[in-house]
Symmetry: C5
Subunit: 354 residues, 5 copies
C-alpha cells in the first residue's frame, strides 16, 4: 500500500474508454467461471473463452460470472462489448486504484469496492479491487486475481442452503458485498490488537521505534478510511436504486450492510483517536524521561560541586591559612561536608526530586 | 469495555439471519416474564417456555414480555418466528456489540440501545445491550442478563400509579427508554467527579500516572460517545414514526427523551474538553518542573564553579606567586569569593530565578 | 457554576411529569406578582395565592404574571393545572439545569433560557434560569429568585412609554428576552477585559498561576457556549412560529434578538481563540525562559570549566614540571586564562547567546 | 480594533429602536450630500438640513444621498422618519459594532458592511461601518466620517462614463459594494507581505518578539474573518432578492462581488494557515536553539571534567605516589589528556554533535 | 506561486467589465488558431486577426478556437464582442488569479480552471489559467501562453481516431477538461515521491532544513487545494447543466471527470496528513536527540564530579591528614574511585541510559 507504482498518470492524454490495466499484474492468466442456478437447478461452467458465458446474459436463470485477472484487456473488452457495458465503466474496472463507487446505467448497476486482508507477516494491509455488475438475471464480478472469500457463497448455492437459490441476482450481489464487508472486521480487530500491544510497549519503553510504528499505523488508517468512506456512500446510493434491479426485500438487507460499514468506519475512527492518545503518551513519556535525567544531573552536581569547592579551598597554598594547622581541621572539614550533603538531600526530598 | 473479546468477525461468511450470539455469556439460563395489563386489570406471567407468552401477541391487552439472557439462540428464534420478526432484526438482538439503532418494519418497530452503569470499583463503565420491539398491543424487551433498572416501572404498573395503565404499549416503550436515558446521568455525574479529582491531583503532583488516567478517561468518553450519538439519531427517527404504532401524544414525551440524550451528549463533550484542558495543565506542569530543576542546577553551578576556579588558582604550585605570601591573602580571597556569591545572588534575583 | 450539586440523576426512575425542583434553593418563599394592561389601563396585582391571578387567564387585557421562586412545587403545580400547562413543560421549568429551549403547544409557547451576570468578586459567572409561557393574552414568567433586570420594562409599561402598552403579549415576551440577551453583553465585555489583563500578565511573567486562570476562563466559556448555542436555536424556532401567537410585526423584532445572540456567540468564539493564543504565548514564554536558563549555565560552565582545568594542571605535584619554575609562569598562565575567557565570550557573542 | 471602548452593553435595558450612537465619535458634524441623475441629467446637492434632500425620495430620477457622521442622532432620526425606515434599522446604522448584514423590508433593502484599510503606520487595520438603503429610485449611504473611496464612482457618474448613468439605483448599490470589496484586496496583500517578512525573520532569529507579532496578526485575522463571513451571507441573501428592487441584470454583477468576497475570505484562510506554520517554525527554531545550547554544554563538560579529574589525581598529596617522581610523568599525563580530548572529539563527531 | 506580484488590488475602483490583464505577461504576442470539423471534414485555420475566426460562430460545423496569450486586451475584447460574451466573463478570463469556476449564460457556458505542472527543477508548481466558452457549435479556449497539453486531442481530431469527430462541442469541452485533470495526477505523484524522500531524510537526520521543506510542501498543498476544491464545485455545477448545451450522453463523461477531481483532492488530503505526521516525526526526533545529549552530559558529570571531589579531598593541605601518610593510601583511593565508577555504570545501566 506504501508504493504507488501503479501510476494513474499513465492515463493522461488517452481517450476516455481506452482500456488500460492500471495496477500490479497479480495474476498470470484470466480465468472465467460461471454459476447458473434457479430454485431447482444448478450449473457450474468453466469458460475457456469469454464467448462460453455469453448465453447466460439472456437466459432467465440467475447467473454469476466471475472473472479472475484483469491484465488481458482484450478479453475484458469482449465481455464488456457483449454485455453492452459503458466504456467508462470498463475503464474503472481495469483501474485498480479506483475509489469504491456505485453507478447506475440503464440496464445494469455497477459497483466497485476493495477486499481487505492482513498480509501474512501481519505488518501490512492487502487490498484487492472487486467490481460487480448487476443485470436483470446476472451478476458479473471482476477480481484482480484468483482465490477469494466467496467460497462460502458458492457452497451455499451449490448445496442449496438457506434462501439463496430462491432469490435473484440482486440478493446474490448483496451477499457478495456483505461477505466483503464482514471481512473488514478482521482488519479492524487486527488493528485493535496491534494498537493495544503498541500502547503497552509505549508505557514501558517509549523509544523512537514506537513513534515510527504509530506513524505507520496512522497512515494505514488514513488509507483504510479512503476505502471505507466512499463505500458507505456507494451502498447508501445503492439503497436508493432507481433501476428496479434490486427488489424491495433486498433493500433491507442492503441497509444491514450499510450499518456494518458505518460500524467499521467507527472502529477506524476510534483507532485513530487511540493512536493520537498513544502518541500523547509517548511524548509525555519522553518528557518525563528528560525530567528524570535532568534531576539526576542536578542532584549530583548540586551535592558534589560545593564539596569540591570546599576541598579546593584547603588545597590552596597560602602561607597563612590557620585552619590547615589545626589539629582536627581535616576532620572538621569532613564534618562540614557531610552536613552539606545532608542539607542537600533534605532539600531535594522536600522538592520530591529524590 | 477495553477488551473486544466478542469478535464480530465470527460472523464473516455466515448467511444473513444466521442467529449467533456475539458477546460474553452474562447469564446462565434464559428467563422470560410477562406483564399484561389494561386500565383495570393486571396480570403477571412467568413463562417457562416461550410458548407460554405467545397468546399475548393477539390479546387486546397491553403486554410487556421481557427476555433475560441471549445465549440460547433456539429459544430466541422461536419467539422471533412466532412474532414474525425479521431475521436481520433477530441477528441484531443477539449481536451485543451492535450500535444503538431504530428500524421500522411493517407491523412493529425495533429499537436497540445500551444500559450504562458504573462498575462497583468505580473504575470502569458497564454496558448492557437492551432491545425493544414495539407491536400493536405488545412490547418485547431483550436483555443480556437478569436484573435491571425497570423495577420502578413494574411497580407503577402493578400499583396503578400515574397514567401508565391508561396508556398503550407506545407509552410503555417511551418509559423504558426514558428510564435508561435518565440512568445515563449517573454516568455523567460520576465522570464529572472523577475529572474534578483528577484535576486537583494534576495541579498538585503531575506524574505519569495522571497521564494514564487522562488517557483512560478519554477512551471511555470515546466509547460512550459511540453509544450516545447513534441513540440520538434513533430516537430522532422514532419521532418521525411512519408506522402509526406511536400515538401523537407519546411523541411529545419522546421529544423530552431526545432532549435528555442531547444533554447527556453535551456533558460528554464538555468532559472531553475538560480532559484536554487537564492534559494541557499536566504538560505545562511538567515543563514548569523541568524549569525549576534546571534553575536549581544553573544557580548551583554558576555560583560554585567560579569559586572552585578561584580556589584552583591558588592551589597551583608556581614558585613565583606573590599573593601566596601576602599575610592576608587567604582572607582576601575569601572576601573575593563572598563577593562573587553576592553578585551571583543579585543577578539571579533580578532574573526572578531565586 | 463549577459544582453540579443539583444532580439530574435525582430524577432517574421517576414518572415523567413528576414535579421535582432540581437546583439550589435560591429563594425562601414564592412570590407571585402580576401586571395587567391595555393601551389605556394599567393594573398591578400582588397575588398572595396563585388563585388571585387566575382571572387574568381569560381577561382580554394583556397580563404578565411573574413567579419568583421554584422550590414550592405545589404552588407551581396549581398554576400549571389552571393554565393547562403540559406536565413535561412544568418539569422543565423546575429543572434549573435545563438547556435553553423553545417548544410549541396548542395554546401557548414555552421558552426557557438563562439570565447571566458577573458575581460581585468578578471571578465567576452567575446563571439564573427564567422560563416564559406565552398565551393568547398573557405571559407567565418563572424565575429562581426575586430581583431581576426587568424593572426597565415594568417602568415603561407603568409610565406608558414607547409602544409597549399598544402591543400584545408577544411583544412583551420579545422585550423580556431582549432584555436578557442585552445583558449578555456585560458578560462578554467582562470577559474581554479579563482576557486582556491576563495576556499582559502572561507577557510579563508566565507562571503556573496564569495557566490555571487560562483553564478556568476556558471552562467558563465552554459553559457559556452551552447556554448560548441552544438559545440561538430556540429563538430561531420562535421566528418560525406556527401558533399565530406571535404577530407578523413582532417577528422582525425577534430577528433582531437573534442577531444579538449570534453576536454574543461570536464574541465567545473570539475569546476562545484569544485564550488559546494566550496559552501559546505562555508555553513559548516557558520555553524561552528555559532557553535563557540553559544559556546561562552553558556560558558559565564553558568559561570556568576549562579555566579550572588549567589551574588543576599546575596544581599537580609532579617533581619535574618546568613551567612551575619559570619566573613569569604564574603570570603567563593568567594571560592564557584571560585569552580563553575572551575567546569564549567572542564565541558566545557570535552565537547570539550573550 | 483592539479596544472595544464602544460598549454594546450601553444599550441593555433600552427600548428597541431607541437611537443611540455606539462607537467612537469620528466626525464633528454631519454632512449630507446628494447626487441626482438620469441618463441625460446630472445634479449635485449639498444639503444643509436633512429636509433639503427629502424631495429626492419621490422624484423619478436616480438619487444617491450620502450621510457622513453618525453622532447627531436627531438628524439621522429625521431622515429615518421621512424615508419611513424601520426603527430597528436606524438602530443598526448607529451601532458601528454591528456585524455586516442584509435585511429586506417592504419598500427598501438594508445593507450594512465595513470599509477596511491599513493605518498609516501599517501596523493596524482601520475599519469603518457603511450602511446602504436601497429604495425604488434612491440609495442612502451612512458613513462614520467624511472621506471615502467612492470618488471613482462620483467621477464616473458626473462624467457619464460607462453605463452607470443608464442604470438605476440597484446598479449604484452594486458599484458601491463592489468598490468596498475591491478595497479588501489591499488588506489581503498587506497581510501577505507582512507574513512573508515575518517568516524570514523567524527563520533567522526566532525570538519572543516574533511570537507576539504572530499572535497579533492571528487576532487581526480573526477580526477580519468576523467582518467577511457575515458579509458573504449578506451578499448571498441580496442575490435572492424578493423585493424586485434589484434588476435581473444586476444580479449577475452581485454574483461577481460574491465571488470576490469568497476570494478575500480564502486569502485570509490561507494566511491563517501560514501563520500557524510560521509558529511551528518558531517553536521548532526554539527547540533547535536549545539543542545547540545543550550540545555545547555537553561537549565542554564531557571534555574538561575528565581532564580536571586527572589533574586532580596528581594534585593529591599522598606521600607514596610513584608517578610523581617519574622523570617524564608530567609529560606522560599531558599525553593521556590529549588522548582523552581526541577520543571525545571523535565520539562527538560520530554523534554528529560537532 | 510564492510571490503574488499580480496584484488584484490593481482593479480596485475600476468599473466592472473594464478589461485589465492581471498576471505575469507570459507570452509576447497573441496567437489564434482554430480547428473546424464534422464527422467527415477537417479544417485547420491560423487566424492572423480575430476576424478570421468569426465565421466559425455561425457555421454548423464543430469549431474549436484557441487563443494563446492574454496581454493584448484589445484583441480579446474584439473576440468577446463578436461572440457576445458578458463583460464580467471577459474580466474573469483576463484575471489569471481567478479561482476555478463555471458560470452559465443564455447562449454559452463559461468554465475557467488551472493547468498544473512541475517546474523543471522539480521544486515548484507551475500553474496556468485556461478558460473555456462552450457555445452551440463552438468552443473557445483562452490560455496564458503557447504550448499546452492538448496535442493528443488535436491529433485525435485530425486523424479521426475514436468518437471525437462524431461528437459535438460539448464532448470537445469534456475532453479538454479531462486532459487537464488527468494531468493533475502527475502533480500528486510528484508530491508523493517528494514526501517519501523527505520522510526518509527526517528519520535519519532531523534538522531545521527538513522543517523548512515540510513547511514549503504544506504551503504548496494549501495552494493546490485552493485550485481543486472550487474546480470540484464547478464540474459538479456543469453536470446540472440548465442550458441544454451539454448532451445527456456527455454528462456521464463529466461525472467521470468529477470522480477524478475527487480522487486528486483526496490525494492532496492524504499528503497533508502525511506531512503533519512527518512533522510529528521531526519534533519527536528533536526531543530524542535532546534526551541523548542530556544523558551523555548527566553520565559524564555524575561519574567524574564525585571522583574529582575525592581527588580534591586529598589535595588539601591540612597538616594532620593521616591517610596521606599510609603506604597504600594512594592505591586505596584508586580502588575507591574505580568502585564509584562501577556503581555509577550499574546505576545508569539499570535506568537504561547506557
Amino acid at each position: 500500500m506504501a508504493k504507488t507504482s501503479n501510476k494513474l498518470s499513465k492515463k493522461a492524454g488517452l481517450a476516455p474508454g481506452t482500456l488500460l490495466h492500471i495496477g500490479a499484474k497479480k495474476s498470470d492468466h484470466i480465468k472465467i467461471t460461471a454459476i447458473d442456478y434457479t430454485a431447482t437447478d444448478y450449473n457450474e461452467i468453466l469458460c475457456d473463452t469469454p464467448q462460453d458465458c455469453f448465453p447466460l446474459k439472456t437466459s432467465p436463470t440467475t447467473s454469476w460470472i466471475n472473472v479472475d485477472g484483469l491484465h488481458n484487456t482484450k478479453i475484458i473488452e469482449e465481455i464488456g462489448n457483449y454485455f453492452e457495458l459503458h466504456p467508462l465503466l470498463m475503464e474503472d474496472i481495469l483501474n485498480t486504484n479506483h475509489r469504491p463507487k456505485m453507478e447506475e446505467f440503464d440496464k445494469y448497476v455497477f459497483v466497485t469496492l476493495k477486499m481487505l486482508g492482513i498480509s501474512k507477516s501481519g505488518h501490512s494491509i492487502i487490498s484487492e479491487q472487486v467490481s460487480f455488475i448487476l443485470g436483470d438475471t446476472w451478476v458479473i464480478s471482476f477480481q484482480e486475481q484468483e482465490g477469494d472469500i466467496f467460497d462460502v457463497i458458492r457452497v451455499r448455492i451449490k448445496e442449496n442452503k438457506g434462501i439463496m437459490r430462491q432469490q435473484g441476482p440482486d440478493y446474490l450481489l448483496y451477499r457478495l458485498i456483505d461477505t466483503i464487508v464482514d471481512n473488514y472486521f478482521f482488519v479492524t480487530e487486527h488493528f485493535s490488537e496491534t494498537i493495544e500491544q503498541l500502547e503497552e510497549k509505549v508505557l514501558k519503553t517509549p523509544d523512537q521505534m514506537s513513534m515510527h510504528q504509530i506513524q505507520k499505523l496512522k497512515r494505514q488508517l488514513i488509507q483504510l478510511r479512503k476505502t471505507i468512506v466512499p463505500l458507505r456512500e456507494a451502498v447508501s446510493e445503492l439503497q436508493k436504486d432507481r433501476t428496479n434491479l434490486i427488489k424491495e426485500k433486498t433493500l433491507r438487507y442492503l441497509r444491514d450492510v450499510y450499518e456494518h460499514i458505518i460500524q467499521v468506519n467507527e472502529s477506524f475512527e476510534t483507532q485513530r483517536d487511540m493512536l493520537s492518545s498513544i502518541m500523547d503518551l509517548y511524548l509525555s513519556g519522553i518528557s518525563n524521561k528528560m525530567n528524570q535525567v535532568m534531576q539526576t544531573l542536578t542532584i549530583m552536581a548540586s551535592i558534589f560541586i560545593p564539596l569540591t569547592f570546599i576541598a579546593g579551598i584547603y588545597g590552596m597554598n597560602f602561607e597563612n591559612m590557620p585552619e590547615l594547622h589545626w589539629k582536627y581541621g581535616y576532620f572538621g572539614i569532613w564534618g562540614i561536608m557531610i552536613l552539606v550533603i545532608i542539607i542537600m538531600i533534605i532539600f531535594f526530598r522536600r522538592k520530591k526530586w529524590l
